[in-house]
Structures are given as structure tokens and as C-alpha cells.
Amino acid sequence: MPVIRLYYRYLEKLVGTDRETILANLPMIGSDIERVEEDHVDVEFFPSRPDLFSVEGVARAMRGYLGIETGLPRYSVTPSGIEFSVDPGLATIRPYLGSAVIRNVKLDEESILSLMGLQEALHWAVGRGRSKVAIGIHDLDAVTPPFRYMAAEKSHAFVPLDFDREMTLDQILDEHPKGRAYAHIVSDFPRYPLIVDARDRVLSFPPIINGELTRVTQETRNLLLDTTGTDERAVATAVNIICTALADTGATVQSVTIGGRECPSLAPSERIVSSDDASALLGVPLDSTALSSLLEKMRYGAGPAGVSHVRVLIPCYRADIMHDWDIFEDAAIAYGYGTFDAEMPRTFTVGAPHPVMAIYAVAREVMSGLGYQEVLPFTLTNERVLATKMQRPLKDSVLRVMHPISEEQTVVRTDLLPLLLEMCQLNRHRELPQRLYAVGDVVGGTHTYPRAACVSTHAAADFSEAYAVADAFCRELDVAVSVEESDDPAFIPGRRGNLVSGGKTVGVFGEIHPAVLNAWELEHPVAAVEIDLTAVPGYPGQQGTP
């Protein structure tokens, strides 16, 4: 999540109160404070609220929450008379364009950084790494309207930001740091998106890089915004958030004509919500007046529409209001999460453990009673552990994760026993005897199966011990088993057996093969048992859990 840096001096000025009050209330409007510093605070806001990714947006919300200024913030937009055309060729590439002109901005070093920070945060949260939306901000006075958003030849050339020479679009993708970072978004396109002015000078190669020509500096007074993307709603949201943030600094927003429509309008949208629904959801009685005043604190325009309904005007910068409940959550925040009288639900039900968990609990009890100590190995492991070191073939049903983090964790465990031997290896320095067990899920194909396994290592560990433990465990779990010769290569021939129940092999036990002991660097014999707990009577279903 993006971390927004808020300088107290500017924030205090915008909000109109002291930093202590602001800091105390920041978490209560929905944020995580990362670091509190001498002159600033770093705050992480939720991805659902990109309008809080600027200090102006935070101040706007905070003024409402603290009751300093409530209700809908009004933004006026006048037409700039500037036209911005979209070539039809973009329909299959990057179809949507949003724009605005912002006049009389006062920029200093800090506010340029803040604007760039907002832009980057929006690229992340709304733009999904620029693939859905990309934003360019330009010095309007360096170029000549009207502007044109076009699908350009890849050989088209201009001077990109931070460079002093002309480069073709393909060169930019190969050589410019931003080009390399975002080339994957455009690499499949036959032509590339480009924004040019009346004299065919390049403003921007969205979503990659702006031109050096329109670089924004402290001398810039008038801005042109371009926002391109693949999702119309997200493109509009990004424009609205930037325009309202700049308007809050005292700048003037003007619209641009795109395909005959004025953009942006910065007008609120409207929803009628029921205060009864809100009361039912939140558990506090709210009439339409009470709900309205809570929503006004959250910077909605809200007024009763009858006794049980509220007409809500949703500010244009709110990207997250999809459903009435989104509005009710804001009412809850305004009400104060700390103010709610928390009450236990009165729903009466009788609890019950899940059969698999109940079987696990008894398996633990029996293994503990037999003197074994529980361990909790990971589910993710690798082929060396499951197969190579065990002298076993890797099962066909093993699941491989597609993008493992490390070589240690490439597959999901199909057995528990190898992980217990790994545990013995990790604990070689600990006193013997070591008797360890694990109960837990293994995976074969897309099914999950419950298992139990144990190992005992000491100078006298042998087949008889494994046989006795397997027998005791099966008796206690009421699994009727017969025993037959096993051919499991992890065990010593002639010192291994399969547990057979209902005509199916459900377990294996015996004395671990010395070559396996060598592979695990173990110096003492190991008696081991593993059993499939689907064989336990009462296990729900026969085929594992999908």
C-alpha cells in the first residue's frame, strides 16, 4: 500500500487544528500510521480511498471528521475551450482519455514532490501499475492546443523526460528506465499511444513517459492533465482526485472538450439510501436526520428525503462507493468505532468440532500418550525431502507451485514422514531418545488428506517398536488393519510392513533404511510409522477433501 508523507506545517494549515488532534484521529478515519517524525508523519491509507493519497485529500476528510467543515465540498469548473481529440485507432489499444486544465497553480519543491507522490500512488491503486490508468501532468504553456491522442508509428521520435536527445518509441522502451519498467504494457500493440499538440510536438507517450518539453517546474503556472487507460471509470476517478486536490490548494480547474464532452465535471453522483437499512446494518437507531449529519461529516452532501430515506451526494473523488453499505460504513466511521456499544450476538447454536479435527485431536492424544512429542512441519517442501533422500519416487499426484520463492519450497507435501526425518536432522544435537509425531494435511492432486506419522530414534529403535506403535495407534483409533510385506524403499527390506484396511494400503511402518539415515545425517536407527487417517471410522467422505 502506498505510504503518504504528511508535513505537519502544511497539514495543520489545511485542516485548521494542531498536529496532536490530527495524529490521534488519523487511524480513526481509516489508516495505519507508519512513522511519526519531527516534522512529518508517514501514513498508509487503504487502497479503496485513493482520494486520501494527497495531503489535501487527507485535510478535506479530517476537517469533516473533526466537524470543522462538513458536507459536500463544491468544485466549480469552467470550460477552457481547449479541444483534445482521440484517434479511433486507439479503440483496441488504450481507448479512454481524461483531461483537465488547472490554472494558477503555485508550485514549490515540496508541492511538486507531493503531486508526484499522488500520481505514483494513483498509478498503484487505481492504475494497477499503469496498465489500467496512467497519468501525465504537463506545463500547459509550453505547448499549443488543440491536443491529439493518437496511435503512433513505433519509429516516431521525441525527447523523453530526463534525457537530452530524441529517441524513437522503441528506443525509449529499450533504453529509458521507465521504458524498460513498463514496456510490457504496450509491447503487444501494433502502434503506440502518443499525445501531441497542434504543432505535433510530443507531450507524452502514455503509459510510459512524458516529454521533456512539458516538464513541470516551480515556474509552471498552468497545468494540462492527461489520463489514459483501459477502464473508463478508473480514468475519470484519477482525473477527479488530482483536480480536487489541486483545487484545494487554490488553483482553478477548467474542462477540456473530448469528443464533444466536457471533462471533468467534478459533479457529485447521487444515491438514495434507507436509514432503516443503515440502522439494521450498524445496530444503532438512526433516523434520516441523524444519518444525514453523520454523512455530512464524511464530506457527503446529505439531507433527509422523508423520514426513512436520505438523499446522498457522493463527491466525485470517491472511487469506492459501489453499494449502499459503502455509505453506511462511512456513517459508522463518523459515529466512531469506539462509540459503538459492543454486544455479543444472541444467536443460539450448538457447537460441534469437525470430524477431521476431532480425529486429529484423538491422534494427538494417543501419540502423546505413547511418549511422542508433537512437531508442526511446513506443508511446502521440495523433491529432495519427499523423494531423493527417502529413496522414494516422487508421487505423480504431487502439486508444484508455479512460482516458488525458494528451492526449499517447490511442492506441497504428499507425506509427513520425510518432514519428521528432516526434523530429526535439525535436532541432531538434542538428547536421545527423540520420539516425534505430526498430524496434518497432505495434498495429492487437488485433494487434501489427513495423516499422522511418527518417528522414534535412539540406539535400540527397531522394527518391533514401529510395529508395536502402529498396532497401538490403530487400536486406539479403531482402525481395523491387517499387515503385509511392504516394498517401501525408505525402509529396510524384511523390516517393513504395510497397514491394510478395507483392501487398501493405508499406512506403512518399520525401520528406516540406513541409506536414508545417511542422507539425513542421522546416526541412530529410526523406527517410523505413517498412516492415512481417511481410514479412521467416521472420516467424512472417502476421497479426501476437495
Binding site: M28, D32, P47, R128, D231, R233, R271, A280, L281, L282, V284, M322, H323, D324, W325, F328, E329, I333, Y337, G338, D341, E343, M344, P345, R346, T347, T349, G351, A352, P353, H354, V356, R364, S368, G369, Y372, Q373, E374, V375, P377, F378, T379, L380, L399, R400, V401, M402, H403, I405, V412, M423, R430, Q434, D441, V443, T446, H447, T448, T545, P546
Partner: protein, 486 residues
């Protein structure tokens, strides 16, 4: 002062002989000399006898040394094997040449010149040869023989045990010599002969032998405690597969298909696919335009292929929604504590797999206030009296809340997420009543309860830690015990 029977017997003996070596006393007592030394030290601790220990060094010939003592050192034998001079090549064929030639040169008995070994005429027996005949000569000759591994040094410890005046005094005052028994036998218990039996007393100063019982892992115990709390509150436990389709893991929970959490850097994807359930179209429509609710949906596109792809479940909320899909009528109270998978590199606070506590309450008139009530009650029972709530954000709940508990050493600690399932989540499955839901971090509570700062200890464990951690878990550092429900 209680003397053991053996100490008494030794003291009685010492009264007679006053002083002796252990082997003489051992013969008399019918025990080993080592035992006598042990008893003597026990008496000496009480000032009743004195143990003098003398370490004497002796030397003896090794097997090789013994051979040379009778046949002569290799260089002497080699010198006697030729006359005035001999070609080097020829001499090297002698079996002792390897050791002998060098020693002869070093001692100045021969010189090697033009491929010939020539005697110098100086061949008087050196210190080493004299010492070989008589080890007691010692000196540099002996040192040389030790260097050549022909002689070994032996340390012989001799003890001398003498009674002290206090010991004599004790012995003369008379000692109760009646026998003490080490073990109580069946015979003695049954026959009643135990009545005349004196059983040896054990010292409490010696530490007990350490044994380690079979036990449930401490982390599992914390999990069991949570299970018990939820079962006592009337929740039904749910369980399900580790492998889930993205449909159940994400789409059914209204996570848009382009949501960052769905990207492969955060989620373990598998190449396997699972078929979509009947009625999946209602979920698709919800994403596209909000289905038949007041929602706008996410818009954009919805890919069936993306929904069919399998993942290792990133949360157990996928089990909650499947439970609700098959139990759409109220009331439902269900929970699950099980492992979830996130594509995170292993460090002290992150693991790619960890436990999550998942719970839902669905009923006709449950509200946000009830959700907070449940969370408060649960944490109180886990031993955290201070609980507060902050707004949160999760794609599938609205309102959302982040509960925090107060830990004196850490302050407010975030404990997971909770909220009311969005209608976009519940409506496609015909669920018409509110669903309170939470997913709480289990390992974080366990770490507080077990005093751990490294998450990895919970899994890749040192069994020494499991052995030493008590099975009875009391409260975290809030000082308040978890209220067990038994």
C-alpha cells in the same frame, strides 16, 4: 550426621588399620577399590577420614620399542649391515632403510657422498640407546625415545586413606550397623518383613533425572484453546481443502480479477484447474455490473479461465463462503482454524504458510455492533482485557474493522480483520441475512502467549524448546490468564 552403611563399614575398618590403600580396604570390604575411594571421599567430606592422592609417572616401552630394545635401534641394525661403504641404492633395499639412513646421518655415523653411504667411524651408543636399555635413566635419551613413539608415559594415581581423630572418635562411640535396604521388594511388602526393614534415604540435593513427556506442541495448545472457546460459544467447526479454485478463493469473495492480492507475487498459483460450481454466473454478473443488488460491480471484464485456476488458499474465508453457499438459511455460526498460504519470503515476522482463525455468524438481525461484541468477547477470553476497533479495508466486507489488543510491552497490536460480508458476496448464493465475518492472526496471539519474537520458531522448531515449554499456558504479559472453557 547420617552415614550410609558402606561409609560406616569403612570407618569401622579404618579404626582398626588407621591407614591403608584402597585395594587393601576393598579386599576386606568385598567391594571394588573405586567404591572404597568413593566412600572415603564421602567420609572425608564429613572430616572423618583423609584421602591422599598421589600421581606417579611411569614409562613403558611400546611394542615397537620392545622390539628395538632386543634387536637394536633401526640405525644400529642398518649400520651393522654393511662394511665401510655401500651404494645408497643398495642400502635403501634394507627394510629399515627408511628410518635408519636419516638417523645415521643425523647422528654423524655416516656421510652420503657421490651416491655412496660411507661410515665415519664415529658410532658410540648415544643417550637414546642407553635409555632404551634402562628407562629409569631418564634424561634426553628418554625424551628422544618418547618423541619416536618408542616409549609411552603412564600416570598412576595412588590413594592413601587414613582415619582422622574425629573419625576415630565417631567409630569408638559406636555405629548402628543394622542393614539398610535399597529397594522395597514384593516379597517384603507381602510378607510384612518390611516392618523390620530400614530403607535407604535419598538425598534431595542431587537433581532428578530429566525426563520429557510426550506432548502436544505449545502452538497447537494455543490453537486448541481458541477452538475450545469457539466451540463453547456454539460455533460449528469447518474444514476444507488446501487447494482451491481462484473462484472460491477470490471471485466468490468479490475480489476483482485485477486486484493486486491476486497477482502471482502474492499468491501461490498451481497449473491445475477446478471446474466452476453451478450458478457461477451469478458471481460473474456481480463482478460485471452488481447483479441484482444496488451495487455497481467492478465493471471491466471477467475471465472464466482466471476463476478456474487453482491456488493454495490464501485465506480460510474461501471455506466460510462455501459453507454459507451450502447453508444459506439462518442461523449459521461456523469457524475454522487452519493453514493459509501467501507468497512471502521467510523472515522473523513473515512465513509463506501460517494459521488463520476464521469465523462467521449469519442470522436474521445481527449487526455491526454484534461483530464488535464477538471480537471483544473472544479477545477477553484469550486473555486480552484491552480491545479497540479501527476502520479497516477488505474487499469482501463492508463495514470493515481492524481489532487491536493492548499489550503492555508493545502497545496496541493489530490482530487481523473483520467485517460484514458485502451483499456482492452473499447475494449470489441466496444469502439474505447479514454475515459477520473475521479472519484473525493466530500466530500473533500464540507468539504473545508463548513469549516468542520469531515466527519461524513455531514451525521449524528446536525440539528442545518444545520440551522445555510448559503444557499449561497462562495469560500473556497482560498478567491475566486466558479464561479456559472446559
Amino acid at each position: 550426621m547420617d552415614l550410609s552403611p558402606n561409609e560406616k563399614r569403612l570407618l569401622v575398618l579404618l579404626e582398626k588399620v588407621k591407614t591403608a590403600d584402597p585395594s587393601a580396604l576393598a579386599a576386606e570390604m568385598g567391594v571394588s577399590p573405586e567404591s572404597v575411594i568413593q566412600y572415603a571421599y564421602l567420609l572425608a567430606d564429613r572430616g572423618l577420614c583423609r584421602v591422599e592422592k598421589e600421581v606417579k609417572t611411569t614409562y613403558s616401552l611400546t611394542e615397537e620399542g620392545q622390539r628395538y630394545a632386543s634387536e637394536g635401534l633401526p640405525e644400529r641394525q642398518l649400520l651393522g649391515s654393511f662394511n665401510e661403504k655401500i651404494p645408497v641404492q643398495e642400502l635403501t633395499r634394507h627394510p629399515l632403510a627408511r628410518i635408519g639412513i636419516g638417523q645415521m646421518k643425523r647422528k654423524g655415523w655416516v656421510v652420503v657422498r657421490g651416491g655412496m653411504v660411507e661410515k665415519t667411524g664415529k658410532d658410540a651408543p648415544g643417550e637414546d640407546e642407553l635409555a632404551l636399555r634402562d628407562l629409569s635413566r631418564g634424561g634426553p635419551g628418554l625424551a628422544e625415545l618418547r618423541r619416536r613413539n618408542l616409549v609411552t608415559e603412564n600416570l598412576e594415581t595412588r590413594y592413601r586413606i587414613s582415619v582422622t581423630p574425629e573419625g576415630l572418635d565417631w567409630a569408638r562411640r559406636g555405629l548402628d550397623m543394622s542393614e539398610e535396604a535399597g529397594t522395597l521388594t514384593r516379597e517384603q511388602i507381602v510378607s510384612g518383613s518390611w516392618k523390620g526393614l530400614k530403607l535407604r534415604k535419598y538425598s534431595l540435593k542431587a537433581p532428578p533425572r530429566k525426563i520429557y513427556p510426550g506432548k502436544i506442541h505449545p502452538y497447537q495448545r494455543v490453537i486448541e484453546e481458541m477452538r475450545q472457546i469457539l466451540l463453547c460459544m456454539g460455533f460449528t467447526e469447518i474444514y476444507g481443502g488446501i487447494v482451491q479454485s481462484a473462484f472460491w478463493n477470490f471471485d466468490a469473495l468479490f475480489q476483482p480479477q485485477d486486484h493486486p492480492a491476486r497477482e502471482m507475487q502474492d499468491t501461490f498459483y498451481l497449473k491445475e484447474t477446478l471446474p466452476l460450481p453451478e450458478g457461477y454466473e451469478r458471481v460473474r454478473d456481480m463482478h460485471l455490473f452488481g447483479g441484482n443488488t444496488s451495487s455497481t460491480g467492478w465493471g471491466g471484464r471477467w475471465s472464466r479461465e482466471k476463476a478456474e485456476q487453482c491456488v493454495l488458499r490464501t485465506h480460510t474465508t474461501c471455506l466460510s463462503i462455501q459453507h454459507l453457499a451450502t447453508h444459506p438459511e439462518p442461523p449459521v455460526k461456523a469457524f475454522c482454524i487452519n493453514r493459509v498460504y501467501r507468497r512471502e519470503a521467510i523472515d522473523p515476522t513473515h512465513l509463506p504458510e501460517f494459521e488463520q482463525l476464521e469465523g462467521i455468524v449469519m442470522d436474521r438481525d445481527v449487526t455491526f455492533r454484534h461483530l464488535l461484541g464477538f471480537l471483544k468477547e473472544f479477545y477477553h477470553r484469550m486473555g486480552f482485557p484491552g480491545v479497540r476497533f479501527r476502520p479497516g479495508y477488505f474487499p469482501y466486507t463492508e463495514p470493515s474493522v481492524e481489532p487491536e489488543v493492548f499489550v503492555p510491552s508493545l502497545g496496541w497490536v493489530e490482530m487481523g480483520g473483520a467485517g460484514i460480508f458485502r451483499q456482492e458476496v452473499t447475494a449470489p448464493f441466496g444469502i439474505t441475512h447479514p454475515v459477520l465475518a473475521w479472519g484473525l492472526g493466530v500466530s500473533r496471539i500464540a507468539m504473545l502467549r508463548l513469549g516468542l519474537s520469531d515466527l519461524r520458531l513455531l514451525y521449524k522448531i528446536d525440539i528442545g524448546w518444545v520440551r522445555e515449554t510448559p503444557s499449561w499456558l497462562h495469560g500473556p504479559d497482560t498478567g491475566v490468564g486466558g479464561q479456559k472453557c472446559r
